[in-house]
């Protein structure tokens, strides 16, 4: 008899949420909480600490209202992208001092190669780099649109 372990298929579709806060320190817990709810994380407090430390290496704001952060961590159980939008804008220590309106948080399991995490971040940056793309996201707030843009992201 052959016994095979079958892993359940994980829903890795991106999440889109409205950020309630004005500051980076308050927005990060909201992004982590969503990933935790989806079962993508364990030890959310460690992930949160990791995201805060990442900001100390250098801001993850890429300018013109976009920030892409993330964690490649053993606390991450399944790949997940959580995107937060804020109409008012967030204070994110951006080099251009512009408020951040779109924040993407890329979670990659630490058991995957680091190069995969970088490719995932590259994919998210490429998808959201254009101002008009982000504007569409802010206007329509449509998760299906986001899923379409990020569907080719490596898992």
């Amino acid at each position: 008899m052959v016994i095979a372990e079958v892993s359940p298929l994980l829903d890795t579709s991106p999440d889109l949420l409205e950020l309630r806060h004005r500051r980076l320190g308050s927005a990060l817990p909201q992004l982590v909480a969503v990933a935790r709810e989806r079962g993508a994380l364990v030890h959310p407090e460690l992930v949160l600490a990791q995201l805060a430390r990442r900001e100390r290496i250098g801001s993850t704001s890429l300018g013109r209202g976009l920030a892409v952060t993330g964690a490649w961590s053993l606390c991450v159980r399944a790949p997940r992208v959580v995107v937060g939008i804020s109409s008012r804008g967030l204070e994110w220590d951006a080099e251009d001092e512009a408020p951040v309106h779109v924040v993407a948080c890329v979670f990659t399991p630490g058991a995957s190669p680091e190069a995969l995490h970088l490719r995932r971040v590259e994919g998210v940056v490429a998808a959201l780099r254009l101002q008009r793309t982000r504007q569409r996201l802010l206007e329509r707030r449509d998760p299906a649109l986001l899923e379409q843009w990020l569907r080719d992201l490596p898992r």
């Binding site: 460690l46 290496i57 964690a71 053993l74 630490g110």
Partner: protein
């Protein structure tokens, strides 16, 4: 936070430090438009974190970190993802157990996922 989780935190912090210190990795992040600076604040934080840890286990962790670039390895389906050794069934920790274990193959601290 138990000792295994404290070492996990140290491991994650070391990953970030490596990301900022390694010129090849840092340049890939810079190419994407990120600022990657000298992580002096993180080094201080690492010192503080290491002071809290058991010195004997820390020495083992540091030795593996120096040798392999990583002091802790994940275990999935009883396989150490650092050296691919299949660990004996008896090595599987009881759920909720906070003790640390070493890989018999590579000597890294093990984190069971």
């Amino acid at each position: 936070m138990n000792m295994a989780e404290e070492f996990l935190e140290l491991h994650e912090l070391d990953h970030l430090l490596a990301q900022a210190r390694d010129p090849a990795r840092a340049s890939r992040w810079r190419a994407l438009g990120y600022r990657v600076a000298t992580p002096a604040a993180l080094l201080r934080e690492r010192e503080r974190l290491a002071q809290r840890l058991d010195r004997r286990w820390l020495a083992i962790y540091e030795r593996s970190l120096g040798r392999y670039g990583s002091g802790l390895s994940a275990v999935r389906n009883r396989v150490c993802l650092g050296c691919r050794l299949t660990l004996p069934t008896a090595a599987t920790p009881v759920p909720g157990e906070a003790h640390l274990h070493l890989c018999e193959g590579c000597g890294r601290l093990l984190y069971w996922t």
